[in-house]
Amino acid sequence: MRSTVWLRRAAEKADPSPLSFSDCQAQPAANDEMIRMFSRRTFLQTAAASGSVLAATSLVPAWARSGPAANLSGLQPLSGTEFDLTVGRAELAIDGRTGPAVTVNGQVPAPLLRWREGDEITLRVHNTLDADTSIHWHGILLPNEMDGVPGVTFPGIRPGETFTYRFPLRQAGTYWYHSHSGLQEQLGHYGPIIIEPRGTDPVRYDREYVIVLSDYTFEGPHRVFQRLMASSDTYNFQQRTVPDFFREASRNGFMATLRDRLMWGQMRMSPTDISDATAATMDYLINGHGPGDNWTGLFEPGERVRLRFINASAMTFFNVRIPGLPMTVVQADGLNVQPVETDEFQIGVAETYDVVIQPRDDRAYTLMCETNDRSGYVRGTLAPRMGMTAPVPPLRERPTLTMRDMGMDHGSMPGMAHGAASAEQPAASGHAGHGNMDHSAHGQGHAGMAGMDHSGHGAAPAAPAGHAGHDMSGNDMQRHDHPQGPGVAGVAMQPVSRLDEPGAGLEDVPHRALTYAQLRSLDPNPDHRAPGREIEIHLTSNMERYMWSFDGVRFSEVVEPIQFVKGERLRLTMVNDTMMVHPIHLHGMFFDVVNGARHNMPRKHTINVKPGEKLSVDVTPEDVGDWAFHCHLLYHMHAGMFQVVSVRPGEHADPHAGHRMGHGAHQ
C-alpha cells in the first residue's frame, strides 16, 4: 500500500523540463530532484522491509553492496522461498507525466525476486484487479501446470482470487516474469528474477544492477492495437518521402532510385517497417525511469560491475551501448556463455543479457538504449557519484530493409555459410545409424566441408549455422507448404542464415556488435544427440492487414497443437517470411541455437528471427504438457502469432537419453 502511495506522490512531482523524444541533446540531471527521489525510495525500502515480505538486507550479495545506489534501481528486492505478490493498479510517473499502470505490490517494474537454485518456492499471487490476471515465469523450467498461461496451462486468476504457484528451481541466472493476460504486460506487469547458483558463480563482479528495459504508452495498449489493426503505419513517422526520393536520386541516380521505389511499390511493402509501435506512442524506461528521470547506478572506479539486462518491453527492440566502455557478455537468457567482449548489442523483446563492465575512470558513462528503428531511446547513467551525467549521443539514422530481408538475396554472402554446414555436419554424420533421422535436409553437398578449419574466424570462432550452406548449394527454392491466404503477404523464396548479423542498423557501426554466432555456452550442452526429426515453422504476416501468424494460420483458427515427444531430440527450423524481426519464445524448454558451436550451443528461451532468415534450434522436451510458443512482440501475439506445443509422454522415448550424458557419447 505504501508503495502505491509513493507512486502517486512521485507522480505529483513537477518536471519543469520534460525531455522531448525528438530532442537528443543531453539534459542536465536535476540534482535536487535526484536527491529527493533517492530519499523517497530509501523511505520506501525501509517501509517495505518492515512489511510482511522478506527484505533482502539479511543477504549481502554483490548487488546489495552497491549501497545507496541500489535504491536508485527503483526495484524492491524480495528473497526467500515464500512470496506474496499482489496485482493491482496505480499511477506510473515517467519524466513527470503520469499514466495508469498494472502493478505488482504497487511497483513498476514488479519486485525483483531473488531465488536460489535448488530451492522449492511458493508464490501466492493475489488479484485485486477487476480483470483476470496471471504470472508467467519467463525462461523458468517448471511443471507445466505452474507456467501461468491462461487458456494453455491454467484458467488464469480471477478478480479477487489468489493463485499459489509452487515449483522447484532447476536452474540459475537472470530471468523475468510477466502477465500473460490481455495486454497487461504493456501496462507495467513485469519484473526481474535472479536465481543464485548453488555452486560458485563463474562470473566475478563487485557490484550488480538489474536493468529492466521496457516501453509504456500513454494512449493505452488497446487503443494502440486497434490503431495498428486499422492502419499499420499509424506510428511510423520515418517513411520515405518525396524529398527523400530526390535526395537519393541525386546520390544514386534517378533511374536506380526509381527502380528501387517501383520494386517496393510493386510489392506494396515499405523498407521503413522496422517497428510498428514506435516512439510516436511509446515512452521507454530503464527500471521504470524515463530518460529525463535518468536512472543512475553508482560504481567505484576499477570495480567490476555486472549489469543484468532484461528487455521487458511489449514491442521494442533496443540497441544497447555504453560509449567509452566495452562490455563483456557473460550470460544470455539466464545461462552462462563464454565471455565475449563487445561494444553494442541488440536485445530483442524478452531476451536477457548479463554483461560485465569495468569502468576505471572517475567519470560518468551514459547507458544508451536506442530503439532498433531509431525513433526513440532511454538512457541511464553509470557514475561514481550521484548527479553526474555524460553526453547522450544523438539518435542515429534509421535503418531500412533490403532485398535480404525479403529472403531474396541469394548468394550475396560467399564464404559465410560454409562453416555453418560443417558445424552441424559432424553431428549429423556421426549419427547416420540412428534410423529415423532425416538427412535429406542437411546431408547434401557438405561432405567436403567436414574438416573445415574454424580457427580463422577469430572472435566468432565459427560461421553461423542453419541451412545457409544448403540454400547456397543449389538452386533449390524454399518450400512453403502452409496456407497462404489473405494473411500471408509474401514468402521468403531464398531465406538465409543471419546468425552472424547483429541486427538491423548495427551491420555497419564503427565498433563491435554482438551476434548470435559469437555465443558459446559456458557449460557443455546437456544433450548431444543429433535431432531425430525436424519441424519447420514459418513466421507469416500481412503487414497491411496487421495479420501475424505461424504457418499462415492465426491462433484463433488453429486446429491442433504442434506435437513434441518427451525425451526426443528434435530440430525446430524457423523461416521468417515477414519483413520484421520476431523474438520467438517457447515456454518450458530451451532452444539450443544451431550456430556452429557443436556441444556449446548457446541455449535460449527467446530467439530473434530476422526477416528473410532461416535458422534452426535443437530442443529436448523434458516436461510433459502444453507449452505456449509465440512471438513475444505483444501485439503480434495478440494478432495471432501464437501456437501451442504439446509435449506428450511418448512410449518409446527414453526420458534420460539426452541428459547429462558424457561428451561425445554418440560420436
Partner: protein, 258 residues
C-alpha cells in the same frame, strides 16, 4: 487442497501411463470446464478479435463557379480480419438549393480474398425524391501494386439498370505528415436513364488533388481542388438543361478515422 489431491492422483495415474491421450494436459489439474472457458477466451484474444472502424475519407466544403456544396464520403466497418460488414456512404448537399443532389448508402458484406483485396457484396440505396433506387452491389476493394487504393463497384438497380464506378487514390508523402493525395473516379452506365439525366457509356470523370496535414494520423485537415467533367450523352443532358458539364471546385475538409 483440491489441487494437491488432484496432482497426487495424477502423479499416480501418470505413473501407470493412464493419462487420457486427447485431453488437454491442464484439464486434469484445473477441470475441463474452467480450462475450456479459458481456451475460448484465449483463442478470441489471439487473432479472433472484432473491431469497429470509421473513416471520413472526404468530409468537405466545395466551392465552384456554379455552386457551393458539402460532401461526405464515409467508410465504416465492423468485423474481424477476414469477414466484415462495411457501410459506405457518399452524399452531396447543395448549399445553394438546400437539398441533397445525391445521397447513397451501401451495406456490404466484405471478405478478404487475397492479401490486398476484399470482395464485397450487398445493397445500396439512393435517396432521391420520387426517384430513389435500390441496387444490388458487387465490389472489389483493396490496394493495387504501387500503392494505389482502388474500389471498383457495379450496381444493378431495382429497375434493371446496370451502372458502375471505379475509384483510385494515391498518397505522396511530402513530409511525414504533409501528404498530397491525387484521386480519380470514373462513372459508367450501361444504358440511357433520362430521368437521371444520364446517358449510356462513360458518364463522368473526376480528378482531385488534396493536400492534408496529419496532426496525428487519425486527424488531418486538408485543402484541395477537384475537377469534374461529364461525358457523352450525360454531358448533353446537362448542356440541354443549360448547365456546364465541366466544373472545377476548391475544397476544404477533414479526414478523420478512429
Amino acid at each position: 487442497m483440491r489441487m494437491l489431491l488432484t496432482a497426487a492422483l495424477i502423479a499416480g495415474l501418470a505413473g501407470a501411463g493412464a493419462q487420457a491421450a486427447d485431453e488437454p494436459y491442464a484439464d486434469q489439474f484445473y477441470g475441463a470446464d474452467a480450462m475450456e472457458e479459458a481456451r475460448h477466451e484465449l483463442r478470441h484474444e489471439t487473432g479472433g478479435m472484432r473491431q469497429f472502424f470509421f473513416q471520413t475519407d472526404r468530409l468537405e466544403y466545395r466551392s465552384s463557379d456554379s455552386e457551393d456544396a458539402a460532401l461526405w464520403d464515409i467508410n465504416a466497418w465492423y468485423g474481424g480480419r477476414i469477414n466484415r460488414l462495411w457501410i459506405k456512404s457518399e452524399a452531396e448537399y447543395s448549399l445553394d438549393h438546400g437539398a441533397f443532389e445525391e445521397a447513397r448508402v451501401e451495406a456490404l458484406w466484405s471478405r478478404a480474398i487475397t492479401p490486398y483485396f476484399d470482395l464485397q457484396g450487398g445493397i445500396a440505396h439512393d435517396f432521391e425524391d420520387g426517384n430513389g433506387r435500390t441496387h444490388a452491389v458487387a465490389a472489389l476493394q483493396g490496394l493495387a501494386p504501387y500503392w494505389f487504393e482502388v474500389d471498383v463497384s457495379a450496381y444493378l438497380s431495382n429497375r434493371g439498370e446496370l451502372t458502375g464506378s471505379a475509384e483510385a487514390e494515391y498518397e505522396l508523402l511530402l513530409t511525414q505528415r504533409l501528404i498530397l493525395q491525387p484521386r480519380a473516379e470514373l462513372a459508367w452506365s450501361a444504358e440511357d436513364m433520362p430521368s437521371l439525366e444520364t446517358g449510356a457509356g462513360l458518364t463522368s470523370i473526376e480528378a482531385g488533388l488534396r493536400l492534408r496535414y496529419e496532426i496525428v494520423r487519425q486527424f488531418a485537415p486538408y485543402v484541395g481542388i477537384e475537377w469534374t467533367r461529364q461525358l457523352g450523352e450525360t454531358a448533353d443532358y446537362t448542356r440541354a438543361a443549360g448547365g456546364d458539364p465541366e466544373s472545377t471546385a476548391i475544397v476544404a475538409g477533414l479526414r478523420i478515422w478512429f
